[in-house]
Every structure is written in structure tokens, then in C-alpha cells.
């Protein structure tokens, strides 16, 4: 049955509006990243979607090469912040996923009552602001300030409830009989978990890990408070891209933003097949 023409028109109009709202800012960032100083400082009719004089100057600039148009020298390049973000977000995701998965499995299979899972979840209810200053004190006492591993640790802790809750829902949905079948065949509990349960959970694990990674990757507040110089992350570094002479370095920020978008997008594409399955995991044959 085909729907009426006017309905189809409305449908596409709605899709177009939604796309515009999400894509225009991103496309604008892409465009800005390739514009020379004169163009991203332009106003009014001088503004164009396509750079008139496309350049890689912005990228060269944040990686420390001098640029003909930007005379302001950078205190430090984007290399270390990118490394810092990659290291802390990845290790933080590993911590959250391994601890969260283990906790979720244990509580899903052996746990009783609803309070313990909820208690873990309530970690998430604290506004990060409320706990960050005490955390700062603790971290400085432990010598974890301004280090990628200190940052990774707090990322792991903060996103743990998220990983835990996602995985718990997935484990609860997985038919227990599959594990019992393996046990009847003489498989130990640990082997059941590593050889049967986890491989069957690949899709949910991948999607949960991606969500956790994105959370860690886009953090600003925690990194702002726990890093000072050496290991600032991309968002913190991005905020510092300005100078008294030129004001906000929008072109450089756009270039950095473009780089920052790469890892999540790549990861997303890599696990795309799993992502759809992971989100529809409940559809397992019961």
C-alpha cells in the first residue's frame, strides 16, 4: 500500500529539517577547518560554505609548524593532547568494561534482590561537579594528578555504572539454558563464561564499549580539573586555543574538532554490524 504524496512530502521535509539541525554545524566545522585566517574571521556576505582558498594551515598550526597567516606561536602542539585522550579514554573504557561486565555477570547469575544493582547505578546520580573537588584532593595525594593513568582510572570509575547496567540487561536477556547446556557437557563455570557467554555477547559488548568510549572521549570537566600541563586532553586543549592577539582560533579549533571526531566514527563503522544486533539483543530466540 503506498502512502499519499502529501504524506511522503511531509516525511521528507521532516527528515530534511532533522538532518539540517544535526549536519549543518558539523559541515560548517569541516569547512572552517580548511579556511585560512582571513576567511574564518570574515562576516556577512564574505561567509562561504566552500573555502575560497582552501588550506591545511590550521592543521599545520596545531601540529606546531609555523604558518604564514598565523603569527601567534603555540605553547604546545596537539600531539600530546591527542595521545592523552587516546590513552586515557581507551584504558578508562577497558577498566569500566571489564569491571562492569564481571559485576553484571555475577549479579545477573548469582545476585539476589534489586538493591545492589541500583546501588551501583546511583554512582551515576552524583553530579560530577559535586565529587570532583574531593577526587582532586585524593588524586593529588595519590600522585595521580596530571597523568594519563590517573585520568583513565577516574574515567573507568565514572563510566563503570553505565557499562555495568548495559551489560546486566544483556546478561539478563541471555537464556540461561545455553550456559547450563555447556555445563552438562562438562564445562567449568569459568570456561562457560569465557568460551560460551562472552563470545555470544560480542555484539552487546561492542556496543556498550563504544558508548563508554564516547563518554570518556568527550569528557571536559574531569580532565580540566585533573590535568594541568602535561596530559591535558583534546577538549581541554581545544579550549586553550585562543590568544590575546587573535581571540578565539576558530580555524584551529575546527581542525582539532575534525581530528577528534575520527576515533568514535571509525569505531562506530568498525562495529556497525554488531551495533544494530547489540541494540536489538532481546530478540534472541527464547
Amino acid at each position: 500500500m503506498s502512502r499519499s504524496l502529501s504524506f511522503e512530502c511531509l516525511r521528507y521535509a521532516a527528515i530534511l529539517v532533522a538532518l539540517a539541525i544535526t549536519l549543518v554545524p558539523i559541515l560548517w566545522m569541516v569547512s572552517m577547518a580548511f579556511k585560512p585566517v582571513a576567511e574564518w574571521q570574515a562576516t556577512g556576505s564574505d561567509l562561504t560554505w566552500i573555502p575560497k582558498d582552501p588550506t591545511l594551515d590550521n592543521f599545520r598550526y596545531i601540529f606546531g609548524e609555523s604558518s604564514s597567516n598565523l603569527i601567534v606561536a603555540l605553547e604546545r602542539t596537539a600531539v600530546k593532547p591527542i595521545l592523552s585522550s587516546l590513552l586515557s579514554a581507551t584504558l578508562g573504557t577497558l577498566i569500566a568494561m571489564s569491571a562492569g561486565t564481571a559485576a553484571a555477570y555475577g549479579l545477573s547469575r548469582y545476585g539476589t534482590g534489586a538493591n545492589l544493582p541500583l546501588a551501583l547505578l546511583q554512582l551515576r546520580l552524583f553530579p560530577p561537579m559535586a565529587v570532583m573537588i574531593p577526587v582532586m584532593v585524593m588524586w593529588s595525594w595519590l600522585g595521580l594528578m596530571d597523568s594519563w593513568y590517573g585520568l583513565a582510572l577516574i574515567y573507568g570509575i565514572v563510566t563503570l555504572p553505565f557499562a555495568f547496567w548495559l551489560m546486566k540487561v544483556f546478561f539478563d536477556d541471555m537464556p540461561r539454558e545455553i550456559e547450563e547446556a555447556a555445563q552438562v557437557e562438562g564445562c567449568s563455570r569459568w570456561r562457560v563464561f569465557t568460551r560460551v557467554t562472552l563470545p555470544m555477547m560480542r555484539a552487546p559488548l561492542a556496543s556498550a564499549a563504544l558508548f563508554v568510549f564516547i563518554l570518556n572521549w568527550s569528557d571536559y570537566l574531569i580532565a580540566l580539573l585533573l590535568t594541568t600541563r602535561e596530559w591535558v586532553t583534546i577538549p581541554v586543549y581545544m579550549a586553550s586555543l585562543s590568544s590575546s592577539m587573535t581571540g578565539q582560533l576558530y580555524g584551529a579549533k575546527a581542525a582539532l574538532g575534525l581530528i577528534a571526531a575520527v576515533p568514535p566514527v571509525l569505531l562506530g563503522i568498525m562495529i556497525q554490524r554488531h551495533l544494530v544486533r547489540g541494540l536489538t539483543f532481546g530478540a534472541l530466540r527464547q
Binding site: E177, I178, A181, A182, V184, E185, G186, S188, M200, R285
Partner: protein, 362 residues
């Protein structure tokens, strides 16, 4: 060696008793069906035999060995689940050989046995397919194969055919029976489908509300139910049960069925049973063990509904407490509203105590 003996088995969940003192001996090489409605305790019994659940009281013995505290991996039983429990991330071959690989058998042996069971269950074309894309019918074969390949002395099946389609169910009934004949395992088969139990089992254990009601060969359970639960649960439709009182007629002892009049005179065995009874009795006969009779001879009832299944027809007669059914293998000249007189075969009549529901024996 692999007889299963359940001794005083009890299972409680908190204050709820799922299974009350069950005693059952399943002989070596026997095909035993645990039959009953949902929630009767049959799956609980099965899970305790497999070791997935621990009994609250009682013992489970395989042969002479007490297995009560032995974990499920070391009981050496095969288990087929209702929802197949296939490892979807593996191929059919990997699923079938899983237990053999767990047991660390030599590779050649693993390969040989995997291929043999695949051949037996006609799974050879699917060996290298991943399990998550296969149809329900094939998945259930894989599940059966995965357990059978281990050649367990005890094979437990928990409603294995309830998720597959009707045509395939008929095929599998024959194949399972053949499998058991070939390997001579002790098989315990949980089902709520009496057709499966009747066609495959050597003996049937009928359960209800956590209580074992009757154990016997299918024909025994069908012909001589011990109580009105078994009488109505076995048979499709179940046994007709009509309330009445003993009465002496000039043609012998009979049952006064109230509004339905006096029953046909009882045979000698039932008459003898009736003499032992006191008070109200229940007069029972199988719908398929009756024939039409001229007025004055059978039990009268007006036709309220007729179900035709091919040549077979199930005629519903009477209403409320005096309703009963009759099954005829050939076309009968009856229409809605007609009054039919149904005469139970004298040998087919069974009498039950109205207060306890137990069968009356002479």
C-alpha cells in the same frame, strides 16, 4: 548401571513445594515420560536428575551411585532443552563436537563421532553453517545431536518438541525412538503432550501439583487410571465422568446417574468394586469406548456440538454436570439437538470414589 532411582525427593522454593516426596525407579535402558500440565513439577524433577537444582530432601541414584551432591558436569548425562540452547556463535560442527572437545578426545575420534551423529540426524549438509541462521527444526536436531554424540547412558529431554512445527514433531517422535533403540540409553522425557508420551515412552509417570499420580505403561495408564486426574488428563478427549449412586436393578448392580437415569448394568468386576463403595461414586467411561444404542438402553444426552476430524467425530452431549462426549470413528446420523443414547462398552466402565477421586477396585 544407569537406572535412575529417585528416593523421597522433595523440592521446595521458600514456602512453595514444587515436588512432594517422589519415589520413582527408571530402569536401565527405559524410555520414561514425565507427563503433566504446566507447573506439575516435571521439569523440577528433571532439573534435579540433571543436577541443575539440588533437592530439598531425598536422594538421586544412578545405578548404585548416590548422585545427589554431584555437580551437573560430572553426572555424565545428556540434556536437551526446550529452547535448544544452541551456541549461536559456533557452527553446527562445533556445536556437535562441543562435548567431545570438552572431554579432550583424540581429534580423529571427535571427527568420526561428529560425522556419524550428523549423518544419523541428517545434519551433514549444515555442518559448516553458523547456528544462528538455521531454522528451529534444524536447531532442535543440533541440540539432540550435541547431547547424543556423547553417548550418555542417561539422556534427559525437556519438552524438546514443543517449539517445532507439528509436521516435524511427528518426524522427530519416530527419530527419537529410533535413537533410543540404537543407543539403548535410559531416556527421561518431559512433556505436557500426551501424544508424545503415549507414542514414545515405555512407561509414563503422570504428575500433578508436585505429586506423582501414576506410573505405568501407556496402555495401563490409559485403561486403568488410578484417579480422576489421570482419567481426564490422559486421552483426547479425556474420560467422561458422571456422578451417581449405586443402585440395584433387576438386571444387576448399576449406577443411578440422577437426571441421566440409571446406567447400563455393570460388568462383574465393576459390580464388585461398587459393592465396596460407600456413598457417591463417579461413573467413568472413555468417549471412544461407547456406541449408539436404541432409546432406553444407553445414557441419554442431547447433541450440543460436534467436532469432525476427518472421519472421526467427537460428539458433545448434555450440559453442565451431566455433559459427556462420545467419539465415533465413522459418520453418525446425528444433528444438533438430537437426543442420542450412548452405551459404554461394559468392560470400559471405570468407577471412582466421589470424595477421594480414587478408582474403585473390586
Amino acid at each position: 548401571m544407569s537406572a535412575i532411582r529417585l528416593e523421597n525427593l522433595v523440592k521446595r522454593y521458600g514456602s512453595f513445594t514444587a515436588l512432594r516426596t517422589m519415589d520413582l525407579l527408571i530402569e536401565d535402558g527405559e524410555f520414561m515420560a514425565l507427563l503433566g500440565p504446566s507447573g506439575c513439577g516435571k521439569s523440577t524433577t528433571m532439573n534435579m536428575i540433571a543436577g541443575m537444582e539440588r533437592p530439598s530432601e531425598g536422594r538421586i541414584l544412578f545405578g548404585d551411585r548416590d548422585m545427589t551432591g554431584v555437580p551437573m558436569g560430572r553426572r555424565g548425562v545428556g540434556f536437551v532443552f526446550q529452547n535448544f540452547a544452541i551456541f549461536t556463535h559456533m557452527t553446527v560442527r562445533q556445536n556437535l563436537s562441543y562435548g567431545l572437545r570438552m572431554a579432550k578426545l583424540p581429534q580423529a575420534e571427535t571427527e568420526r563421532r561428529t560425522l556419524a551423529i550428523a549423518e544419523f540426524l541428517r545434519l551433514t549438509p549444515f555442518l559448516d553453517r553458523r547456528a544462528d541462521g538455521l531454522s528451529v527444526n534444524i536447531l532442535q536436531r543440533v541440540a539432540i545431536g550435541r547431547s547424543a554424540v556423547m553417548e550418555p547412558a542417561i539422556f534427559l529431554l525437556d519438552e524438546p518438541l514443543s517449539n517445532v512445527d507439528a509436521a516435524f514433531r511427528a518426524v522427530m517422535r519416530a527419530e527419537l525412538k529410533q535413537l533410543q533403540r540404537q543407543f539403548r540409553q535410559t531416556m527421561v522425557y518431559v512433556t505436557h503432550d500426551q501424544l508424545e508420551a503415549m507414542t514414545m515412552a515405555d512407561r509414563i509417570a503422570v504428575m500433578d501439583h508436585g505429586v506423582l499420580q501414576q506410573v505405568g505403561r501407556p496402555i495401563e495408564v490409559y485403561n486403568d487410571p488410578v484417579n480422576i486426574f489421570v482419567a481426564t488428563f490422559i486421552g483426547a478427549p479425556g474420560m467422561n465422568l458422571l456422578k451417581g449412586r449405586p443402585v440395584q436393578t433387576d438386571r444387576g448392580l448399576a449406577v443411578d446417574l440422577g437426571p441421566l437415569g440409571i446406567s447400563p448394568p455393570l460388568g462383574s468386576a465393576q459390580a464388585c468394586a461398587l459393592r465396596a463403595a460407600s456413598g457417591e461414586v463417579i461413573y467413568g467411561f472413555r468417549p471412544e469406548q461407547a456406541s449408539l444404542a436404541p432409546p432406553g438402553e444407553g445414557i441419554p444426552g442431547s447433541v450440543t456440538f460436534e467436532e469432525r476430524i476427518g472421519a472421526r467425530s467427537i460428539v458433545h452431549l448434555g450440559e453442565g454436570s451431566t455433559a459427556f462426549r462420545a467419539v465415533f470413528e465413522k459418520d453418525v446420523p446425528l444433528a444438533m439437538g438430537d437426543v442420542a443414547h450412548v452405551l459404554p462398552h461394559p468392560d470400559a466402565v471405570r468407577l471412582f470414589d466421589a470424595s477421594t477421586g480414587r478408582v474403585l477396585k473390586g
